[in-house]
Amino acid sequence: MEAGFLPRAWIQALLDALHRAGYRCVGPQVRDGAIVYDTLDRAGALPQGVRDRQGPGQYRLETTASPRYFSWANGPQALKPFLFAPHEVMWRAERDARGAIRFSEIMPAAEMLAVIGARACDLAALRLQDRHFLQGKFADPYYAARRKNLFLVAVHCTHPADTCFCASTGDGPRATQDFDIALDELDDGYLVQAGSDQGSMITAQLPLAPTTDAQRGIAEQEAQEAARRQTRGLPSRNLRDVLFANLEHPRWENVAERCLSCGNCTAVCPTCFCHGERDVTALDNSHSEHARQWDSCFTQGHSYIHGMTIRADTRMRYRQWLTHKLGSWHDQYGRSGCVGCGRCIAWCPVGIDITEEARAIGGGGGHG
């Protein structure tokens, strides 16, 4: 559903149309030296000419003379926090004087949210989270409530970071599905494409010009170039057999000597879903709230059962993470749990690189 060309000066019209449709818009903005999604009312707040430099354990922004708003790759946040909240109260129990207990669910406010600038890797991760939280035997109503009201404006990547490897996982850099609108960013504006009926309703309100062959040609060329520029990659799209055949590989010990077991990789990973639940009682004991919070397989408590911890050391925890993400994820969801966003590489304090570890342990595995 090719819609047309939107000159950069008119990008505010997109935000206005979304506001009119009842959405709160969040979009990329520079905060504390990183690009994060925050409430976006004025297009002027977009990070014009901002470019990122990423490497193992490194993330840095610099400004350029480019007029573009989206010439950066992923920041620390994906779409995950908008749907699977880092912390949320799930239900409340109230106990009366006679000891009777009443349970009431606490649902998130039904906010209509539009995300501007979603990347292909994050849309692929969203599909995996949908699969996990919505399509099993039990659907998660908290995730579902937010998912229902999400509107996605994707921007195809033209500036992958050095840490990006979505071309090797097959998830990017072009967004191919699950968006409402997708944008190709050119120097003077945007090629606008609608991906859903809601998307078409918004694009119909934009002052679009017909696109030209030249514009389409440049967009196509930039996308191909973006894929070609990626230097990292996984040795295969399915590493399950080779990883599980190498559970005693000396590299696990080697990575454990570097890994801090801090869990940053799991916090930034857009597909990690682990969380813990706990109860907090009001001081006057009138009610108690049951909340959940992101958790990580790198913590001691994650695998605790009375009297023992299943994964007592870092070697076992890193091995759990990698064999799950790149291996047993195939059994659960029919694909790898890695969408090639590279966040775990950039945000690891000691710069451990998932592609390098995968290659060291499973490098012999076939190619896909």
Binding site: W91, F103, A139, P141, E277, I305, H306, R315, S328, Q332
Partner: protein
């Protein structure tokens, strides 16, 4: 959309002290309509919620056809189980469930049923023993093997003696340490395999206990010619959500809360006994 995270109010009808640290709660929903709709299979578990303290996974030990009450036998080990242990008749708590996959009892019909447990009050299998005894004609021999560390740890002692008197039933109990008048074996329960009379080609094995014990038992059974898909084990992992969302019970490509806790050995084998999984 049904919210599987939300508990329902239940009440304690009766509390039975089984041993100094093990007790049984006999329970029902306070809402009779909910109670009437409640169905489960032996080997499945519920999440019990103690007001203000938290939730824990606990197996259901009563008979699935008992429509009046359902029972949980619980050992006091930590925060939540200690609090549950202080409940009395008429106290209220929360419950959601049943969850997981239970024992293959339909598949076991027409077979010798062998139940092997190690450790204190291995609750999940007591439900199977009672289930088989109440439907005795559907099964062939019944073999009950229970190992405990200390002879004082054996709960339901008189029941073991009664079971051993039933026809086509063999009861083998062992304690690593036994006191005077302990009528059974002193040592490991797995040392008793040579005494077991059963047909390896027609047996269904169900076991629960420490992984080390299960490992020895599995090796012995495979040597006797039992096939991997006739050996079933109940696994224990940390659990929070019980519905396959929180990741705590991850076991390779499986969630113990959903795909288990009962697995055939064929399913569990790839990672069974490997430290860290």
């Amino acid at each position: 959309m049904v919210n599987a995270a939300l508990p329902h109010e239940i009440e304690v009808v009766e509390r039975i002290q089984e041993s100094p640290t093990i007790f049984t709660l006999r329970l029902r929903f306070t809402d009779p309509v909910q109670h009437a709709a409640f169905r489960f299979e032996p080997g499945q578990f519920n999440m019990l919620y103690l007001y203000g303290v938290g939730e824990v996974p606990i197996s259901i030990v009563s008979d699935p056809e008992d429509e009046k009450l359902f029972d949980h036998t619980i050992r006091v080990v930590g925060r939540v189980t200690r609090g549950l242990g202080q409940l009395k008749a008429r106290d209220r708590l929360g419950m959601r469930g049943p969850y997981g996959r239970g024992w293959p009892l339909k598949q076991a019909e027409g077979h010798d049923v062998m139940i092997i447990t190690g450790g204190l009050g291995c609750a999940p299998v007591v439900s199977v023993i009672n289930y088989v005894i109440r439907r005795r004609d559907r099964f062939r021999r019944l073999i009950i093997m229970q190992g405990v560390k200390h002879s004082d740890d054996l709960i339901w002692r008189s029941q073991y003696s009664q079971w051993s008197k039933l026809r086509d039933t063999q009861v083998l109990v062992a304690a690593d340490v036994g006191v005077a008048l302990w009528p059974w074996h002193i040592g490991r329960v797995t040392e008793l395999f040579d005494q077991v009379e059963f047909d390896p080609s027609q047996a269904m094995i169900m076991m629960c206990g420490p992984q080390g014990m299960m490992r020895v038992a599995v090796d012995h059974l495979l040597r006797r010619g039992v096939t991997e898909d006739h050996i079933h084990l109940s696994m224990e992992r940390n659990m929070h959500c019980a519905v396959g969302h929180c990741g705590h019970c991850q076991y390779g490509g499986k969630f113990v809360c959903q795909d288990g806790p009962v697995f055939s050995y064929a399913e569990a084998r790839p990672l069974f006994g490997i430290q860290g999984f």
